[in-house]
Symmetry: D2
Subunit: 323 residues, 4 copies
């Protein structure tokens, strides 16, 4: 089985934070696509952000370009995070008009996905959550989210709806916060085509061991639909080059992805605020590829180690990976 | 509806940490029971730790004493954490003999629970987890846990098996780590009498908003069976007096316990290493009672606030609670 | 001794994050000043962000307006965070041209401070730090920072240069990260008019007990020059309304500010992304004022408690503050 | 310059936590010394815990044994953490009798150090701190600590007094918490022979980049006296095998130790609760030795990288270390 690599297209463009509006110039989506096709190793697809990169009005055009480069649309990520109308929630807003607008927007993005032969709609419901204690009815708002996602999944049964979790940012608490609660959210819909996206950095911030999260998703009925890779210093979503901080955890992830039969995309998701984007994202691809090779070549040895329960043996194995 | 208060009996005794074996003398369980009965406000029950406080050989005697003081056995907490045989896991150990021993021990504790008319067996599976990456087969070990808990719950259908979660300590990663994964673990057993215990401090360490966890348990089919209260500074299980650090979160919890119809115990769980234990635990009881009163008297106002989604209004309400 | 209250003017305006460019409309500085003067309780001053609110070209005009409202300029906060030229550091940049530009800009802001009778220049050196391990020469970059701050402090001996620390964001590691390292940075300059600004939320994120940080600054030779107040959930700079999460810590801070003889401003610094800004910032002012009153009225009692070392007594005191 | 390796002797013995009193049998100090001498690679010394391993009554005997094995006493670590008399502080206790007892004990340990030709007395003042807000007079207690450490350093001018910092555990807040505040504490004594011990895991828990802490100590006048190595998952002092979680940070530390001219011990400090202690500690020694070799062989390349400020180039370098 060959892993499929991709990147999020917009990571090649501008990045900002709440203090500095622009660290870089922002090429057009078309130019970023050209840059990706010409420079990125291993990739067979790109992820497109809804509205920014792809909309009903340019879907056909983008599909043609993608085909021209021999790239698939790995996923579409609807933008429910950048529109201030969704500032206090999209499908979980207390305002029914906002909920309707959000659901209609998500529907249109599913239509676009079908048009470009994309199988994954990656829902990062970034504004659905809350900031202050004693200001939200968690039960009612979760119910609204469940209803909206169920509606979407039922109306588009050929798509996989992948819920991307993150503990916080931009809200202080997100409703889809970690693997297990997002599995529960997926199960509540009653739809088999609702699953989960792991962003490795979101998992680290959430205090998860991501390899174990992969196992949780497997046990909950093959709910892992998509993977975003990056690294961070452990307490915040720094969106850094893979393996700039951690090593072992990526090897363990790649092992469990193989062992659980994951056949989705391995996609890079970074914010290279101050770095050369092409270089930084290429590095992540090289790291993951290296770890894939290690796991493929030493699969049986790793399998023995996880059954052995001996940290000393595991340490010896890890040391053997260095020159 | 009247809330039922209790304490963990052993919190009145010795405490140690990994550097200092003893900060205090340790009274006998009988003496601690006397101290609790004579000094603790509001309580109608005590939680007993298996082996330490209660065993097959003293169950009848303890029941008689409890009756004499007019106290119930609120829960039994089997000791799978202090026996070094379980150091690398109890029911999830890779050693089948350890798994069998652990399950037999848990069965005996369920028998004891029946003998003392206790309805809750609180399973804090503290040693079931792992420390190092690439040293455990998460899938297989979780399966063993599920099988053992299913066996127990099936054999003792009149008991409630309450799984107490905690992200880490004593293992670096616990299998029952947070509310949502513990709900998944409970659901995997297929038994309705398997649910969850919230320890407020464990929730804080896990990055949870505990009030939201109460809602998650409700939505997953009324799975909240038991409550342990304490406070901490946010990053570790400091097991402090309630409300020594936080305020708002307890009010929100008490509101949602009421709103979701929770009818279990409100039990205090602290480690007063260097404090007068009776004083410290009494303080927690007084704080929770105060918050209960606030919620009862201003329930409609709070309900309005959580529907309002306005942090300024919520702040005004909170200020109104101070003299 | 009367405490002096102020707010950061720009907190009344737009807020953004790295996903959503605008949650609100942004009034002009002049309009925000009018809003502050007409709506904010207790305040005697405002803090102005350099370039955004105040520049050489409008300093006189702003001073006139401030006088008209009877408000002081509590501090000037030069903007070294929003200009992408400083993206990889301002006075610690490896590029000498950037270092020069930054120092010249800071000089111009000191001139402006003198023009508007402002005594505090608040240096939040947000871009001076690093993101990745093995990419920065900490020794050399710190030396450049020290030289620049020393130059500034020497050239403007009548101003107080207050270094505002924060562990991370926008860089993954800031050079001025916590109280103690910022005291060291101040001491390195050899200038008595270099000190520290506490932002309470930055302290929480840094794992500090802010009251203890106040004592550290006192012991290091009265180095606490300025205070920014807000609250957060403990792991990130959420910039929330004071006391929405914590209570005790603010009482302890207000006590130690009094005890150490702090006579600077108590300024509010929030990001009310989704809240009514006037309401949210007013709430913080009301909370701090309430805590000031508690400390004034019960100063001796609190002094006794901190000498007593008895958490049970302290808990009783805290409970007595609630109705 | 050759690095000197050592281990903490007691790490070969029993470990416990607050739930399980004993995971292992505990060999005698003499037996552990034999085990270390026969099994540990690279070591030229051992660290001895006061009272447990070495006392006035066995100092001569231990010295003879050490000589027999060709090992030095790398440091003595007085036990101010395991005696419940110091539960609420040793030299910072509010009880003058406790302060006197603690200081006398520390003096006796300095005498012992002289007797065994040990140059480092490693003061981990684990009980000097506080748990609850509003229960301690930080100013007075810090002053007592400063006076005691000053007395000790003045009376034993040929010894290096190395203050080992740790943010928390066993107290919720330690007075010696991070590098910078411990430098301030050292400076307050006015003694050049008071410096700092870095425990890498304590630094990680404190949110520090340890390499930067090495630079801080250098800039504060060569205050880094001693190094303890271990790894953890980032939020707690898990005391694990070096490099089981992180990689880059150790390379960066080894580089800066070299660059700043550190000539002290590289000592391993772990709690192998459930692991074979000899195996686990040997692994750490092998990892550090490997990193030392990498740094020695590629020193100029790393020096170029830290001046370059280019995360992509640094990532390429890191990848080149893997086979």
């Amino acid at each position: 089985m060959e892993n499929k690599y991709s990147i999020i297209l917009g990571n090649l463009g501008n990045t900002c934070d709440r203090f500095c509006k622009s660290y870089k110039t922002n090429p057009s989506s078309e130019r970023m696509l050209e840059l990706a096709a010409e420079n990125m190793p291993y990739i067979g697809g790109v992820e497109l952000v809804g509205t920014w990169d792809i909309r009903p009005d340019n879907a056909k055009e983008m599909k043609k370009r993608l085909d021209g480069y021999g790239l698939e649309c790995a996923s579409i990520i609807p933008d429910t995070f950048g529109d201030s109308d969704y500032g206090k929630g999209s499908v979980s807003s207390t305002d029914p008009a906002v909920r309707r607008k959000a659901l209609d927007y998500l529907r249109s993005m599913c239509e676009v996905a079908l048009q470009v032969d994309c199988r994954i709609v990656n829902l990062w419901m970034a504004q659905d959550g809350y900031d202050y204690l004693l200001t939200a009815d968690y039960d009612r708002e979760r119910e609204w989210m469940t209803e909206a996602i169920r509606a979407l999944a039922s109306e588009f049964p050929s798509l996989k709806i992948a819920l991307e979790y993150k503990p916080k940012e931009p809200r202080n608490f997100s409703y889809h916060a970690r693997m297990a609660d997002t599995i529960l959210a997926a199960q509540e819909t009653g739809c088999r085509n609702v699953g989960v996206t792991i962003d490795t950095g979101h998992g680290f911030v959430g205090g998860e061991n991501v390899a174990e999260s992969i196992v949780l998703a497997k046990r909950a009925g093959d709910r892992l639909f998509h993977m975003h890779f990056n690294d961070n210093h452990g307490c915040w979503d720094d969106d850094m080059i893979v393996s700039s901080v951690h090593m072992t955890t990526y090897i363990e992830m790649m092992f469990w992805l193989r062992k659980t039969g994951y056949d989705g995309w391995l996609s890079m998701d970074q914010y290279p605020y101050r770095e050369d984007a092409i270089g930084a994202i290429s590095e992540s691809l090289h790291w993951i590829k290296k770890y894939e090779t290690i796991v493929d070549e030493r699969y049986d040895e790793i399998e023995r180690l996880i059954g052995l329960n001996d940290a000393v043996e595991t340490s010896r194995f890890l040391r053997s990976l260095l020159k």
